[in-house]
C-alpha cells in the first residue's frame, strides 16, 4: 500500500500538503468504502486542497487525475470549474481536454454541465457543432448532447443559416426514425416564438418534409407526431385542418382495403379525422376496431377508449 501511494506523497510539489483520509462518519459498516490505492491517495490530497480552498495549477491537475478515474464525481467537477476561473486558465484548452473525456464517457451529466459553464464564459461556440457531430457518431440519440445543442442554439442564435437545420437533415437522412433529431427540428423551426406557427411558407415546407419522410418509412412514429403537432399548433393564415390530411392518411390505410394497411399511425390519424364528423362515426369505429384487433392489439384498451368517445357509437364525444 505504501509503495503504491507514491504519486503524490513522494512528489516534491505536494510535500507541503497533509493528506486527509476518508472519514465515513461514526461506525458505518454500510458505507465503509474500499478504494483502489491510487484513488485513495488522490482523494486524500483532494480533501486537503479543498479544505484550504486552494486555487492552483497543481490542484487543477489533481482534479484531472481524479476525473479520469471517476468522471461522475460531481464534487470534483465543481471544484475544477472554480479553479479554472480563479486562476484564469485557458478555456479553449479546457474544451480540448473535455472533448476527450466526453467521447469516452457518454452518459455523464457533469461533463455537459461543465461544458455549458465553460462555453458560456468563452462567449463563443466555434467548433462546438463539429464536436457534437463527433459525439453523434457514437450515439445519435444521446439526451445530454441534444439538450446541450438546444442551449447552444438559443445562447448563440443558431436558429437559421448557421448549419443547424442541415445537420438535423443529415442525421435524418441516415436514420429517419431518430426522434431526437425530429424534436430538434421542431425546436429550430418553431422554438423562437408563436409567430412561427403563422408562417405559411414555413409550415408548408415542414408538412412536405414530414410527408416525404413518411413515404420512406410509413410505420415511423416521429413524422406522424410531427404532423399532428403541426395540425394542433399552426394558426392564422398557416392553420392546418385535420380533414386536409384525409387523402394522405388514406394512402397508407384505407377502410376499403383493410388487409393492406401499411401504417397503424395512418389508420390512427384517419380514425381521428373520421371522428370529427358525426356522419363518419361508423367508419371511425371501423378504423379503431382494426387497430384494436389487427394492427395494434397490444394497446387494445386504448383503442376501445377512443371508440367510446365516438358520437353515436355507444359513447359521448369528449371535448377536444
Amino acid at each position: 500500500m505504501l509503495e503504491k501511494m507514491a504519486k503524490y506523497s513522494n512528489a516534491e510539489e505536494w510535500a507541503d500538503i497533509v493528506p486527509i483520509p476518508q472519514d465515513d462518519g461514526p461506525g458505518q459498516p454500510l458505507a465503509a468504502i474500499a478504494y483502489s490505492d491510487d484513488y485513495v491517495e488522490a482523494m486524500s490530497y483532494l480533501r486537503a486542497v479543498m479544505a484550504n480552498n486552494e486555487m492552483s495549477e497543481r490542484a487543477l491537475h489533481l482534479t484531472e487525475d481524479i476525473i479520469r478515474m471517476n468522471p461522475a464525481h460531481y464534487t470534483v467537477w465543481l471544484y475544477r470549474s472554480r479553479i479554472l476561473f480563479a486562476t484564469s486558465s485557458s478555456l479553449p484548452a479546457e474544451i480540448t481536454w473535455l472533448n476527450t473525456i466526453a467521447l469516452k464517457y457518454q452518459k455523464n451529466y457533469q461533463i455537459w454541465h461543465h461544458r455549458h459553464t465553460i462555453v458560456d464564459a468563452l462567449n463563443s461556440c466555434t467548433g462546438e457543432q463539429d464536436f457534437l457531430s463527433q459525439m453523434f457518431e457514437l450515439d445519435m440519440k444521446n439526451y445530454h448532447v441534444w439538450s446541450y445543442r438546444q442551449w447552444l442554439v438559443k445562447r448563440f442564435d443558431l436558429w437559421e443559416g448557421k448549419g443547424e437545420l442541415e445537420a438535423v437533415e443529415s442525421i435524418l437522412e441516415r436514420d429517419v426514425r431518430n426522434n431526437s433529431a425530429w424534436n430538434h427540428r421542431w425546436y429550430l423551426v418553431f422554438g423562437r416564438g408563436e409567430s412561427c406557427f403563422e408562417d405559411k411558407e414555413r409550415v408548408r415546407r415542414e408538412v412536405d418534409y414530414a410527408k416525404e419522410a413518411i413515404h420512406l418509412a410509413p410505420q415511423n412514429q416521429s413524422p406522424w407526431n410531427y404532423i399532428r403537432g403541426l395540425i394542433r399548433q399552426t394558426k392564422g393564415p398557416a392553420a392546418l385542418s385535420l380533414a386536409s390530411f384525409k387523402q394522405f392518411a388514406s394512402e397508407f390505410a384505407s377502410l376499403d382495403d383493410p388487409d393492406n394497411v401499411t401504417s397503424s399511425h395512418a389508420l390512427d390519424l384517419l380514425a381521428e379525422i373520421l371522428a370529427e364528423r358525426e356522419g363518419d362515426a361508423a367508419d371511425a369505429a371501423k378504423a379503431l376496431d382494426l387497430l384494436a384487433k389487427k394492427y395494434d392489439p397490444i394497446r387494445e384498451n386504448y383503442w376501445k377508449y377512443r371508440k367510446s368517445l365516438l358520437v353515436g357509437q355507444g359513447g359521448v364525444k369528449a371535448a377536444a
Binding site: A31, R47, L78, H116, R299, N301, Y302
Partner: protein, 343 residues
C-alpha cells in the same frame, strides 16, 4: 448501498421459452440486495460512490416492496444518511460529496420510509426546517425551475425531487408552487410529453418527474391526459425479443426501468390499463437472475439494484401477488405515504 452490478445476468433461466412458468424470485432478490454491501472490495464500488445515497433508497424501497422491511439495520442506515448531511440542510451522495437535490430527496424518502423524522430532529437541531430551506434556496424565483445544487443546471427532475421531499416533510408551501407548475407546463411538447427543459425531447423519465410534481401539487388538470397517456402506451414494444417491455422514447430499446417511469405515469393519469400488463409482467420477470437474484435492464445483461427496484415497483403497480403496494407518485410503499400524508 453498493451499486456494483452483476455478477449475475438477467434471464439466465431461459425464461423466454417457458413464459407461463415465470415467477418472481422474492427470496433471491432480498438476498441479492442484502449482500450488496459485502462487495466493497470491487473496483466498481467506489466508481459509484456518487450514487450511494440513491442506491440506499433503491435497495431499501425494493426490500419494503418485497415484504422484507427489516433486512437492513435501521440505525446503520440512519448513521449513513446523517453522515451525508451538510450544515446547510442538503445531502451529498456520500460523506464529503457536495449537497445536491437528488440525494436530498433520497435522504428524505429514506427517513420517511424508516419513520425517522423524529430521529432527524434529535440528531440535527431544527433538521426538518433546515432541509426545507436548502431545497427552497434552489428554486429560481423568476422562472420557478429548481436547480440541482447551488451551481447547477435546471432539470424537471429536480422539481419532482423538491416536491416529493417537501411534501413528505409537510413543508411544500415554503416554495412558490404555482411558479414551478408553470415551468413544468412550459416543458410540455406537442406530443403531450415533457422533457428536461422547455423544448427538450419528451422522455418517459422526465414525464414521471413532471407528473409526480403535478400530482403532489394537485395540478394534474394541466395535463393533456389522453394525448400523453396515448404516447406513453406507445412505449410498449410490440414485437421482437423485448416484446411487452417499455422504452423511454420512440425507437429506443426496452428497459426494465421504464416499466416504472411509464407505468407509474399511466397510473397517475388513471390509464394503467392502456398497456398490456401481462406482456409487461412477462418481460420484467424474464430479466431476473433466477440463480443469484437481481433484475437487469433487459435479458442477458448484468443485474443491478437500480433495475431491481424499478422492476419490482413495476410488478407492484401491476398488482403482482405477494408484493407491497407501491405509491406511483413517490416510488415508496403506499402504506408509508398514507401514514405520512394522511391520504
Amino acid at each position: 448501498m453498493a451499486l456494483v452490478s452483476g455478477p449475475g445476468r438477467g434471464g439466465s433461466g431461459g425464461g423466454h421459452t417457458l413464459p407461463e412458468e415465470l415467477h418472481l424470485y422474492i427470496d433471491k432478490h432480498v438476498h441479492y440486495i442484502q449482500t450488496l454491501d459485502t462487495r466493497k472490495d470491487e473496483y466498481e464500488y467506489w466508481l459509484t460512490e456518487h450514487l450511494r445515497l440513491n442506491g440506499l433508497y433503491w435497495g431499501l424501497t425494493a426490500l419494503h416492496l418485497l415484504g422484507r422491511p427489516d433486512v437492513l439495520k435501521r440505525e446503520e442506515v440512519l448513521d449513513f444518511v446523517f453522515s451525508c448531511m451538510h450544515e446547510d440542510g442538503g445531502f451529498g451522495a456520500a460523506p464529503g460529496h457536495d449537497a445536491h437535490m437528488l440525494y436530498t430527496a433520497s435522504a428524505v424518502q429514506i427517513l420517511a420510509t424508516l419513520d425517522a423524522f423524529g430521529d432527524l430532529e434529535t440528531r440535527v437541531c431544527g433538521g426538518r426546517m433546515r432541509i426545507g430551506q436548502f431545497i427552497a434556496s434552489l428554486q429560481d424565483r423568476k422562472t420557478g425551475t429548481i436547480h440541482g445544487d447551488k451551481y447547477g443546471e435546471p432539470d424537471t427532475r429536480f422539481i419532482a425531487c423538491a416536491f416529493m421531499a417537501l411534501s413528505l416533510l409537510c413543508l411544500l408551501p415554503i416554495i412558490n408552487v404555482p411558479l414551478s407548475i408553470r415551468y413544468i407546463q412550459s416543458c410540455a411538447n406537442p406530443d403531450g410529453g415533457y422533457g428536461s427543459s422547455p423544448g427538450a425531447e419528451s422522455h418517459s423519465g422526465q414525464i414521471f418527474a413532471c407528473l409526480s410534481a403535478l400530482s403532489i401539487a394537485n395540478a394534474l388538470r394541466t395535463v393533456n391526459t389522453d394525448r400523453l397517456a396515448g404516447w406513453l402506451s406507445e412505449r410498449q414494444i410490440t414485437s421482437g425479443p423485448g416484446v411487452g417491455g417499455l422504452n423511454g422514447r420512440p425507437e429506443k430499446k426496452e428497459d426494465v426501468c421504464y416499466s416504472w417511469w411509464v407505468l407509474s405515469s399511466l397510473a397517475m393519469l388513471s390509464r394503467r390499463h392502456w398497456v398490456d400488463g401481462e406482456a409487461l409482467k412477462r418481460f420484467i420477470l424474464s430479466c431476473q437472475d433466477e440463480v443469484n437474484g437481481g433484475i437487469s435492464d433487459r435479458p442477458g445483461d448484468m443485474v443491478d439494484v437500480f433495475h431491481t427496484v424499478f422492476g419490482v415497483a413495476g410488478l407492484s403497480l401491476l398488482g403482482y401477488e405477494g408484493l407491497e403496494e407501491v405509491d406511483p407518485v413517490y416510488c415508496m410503499p403506499r402504506s408509508i405515504t398514507r401514514r405520512i400524508l394522511g391520504k
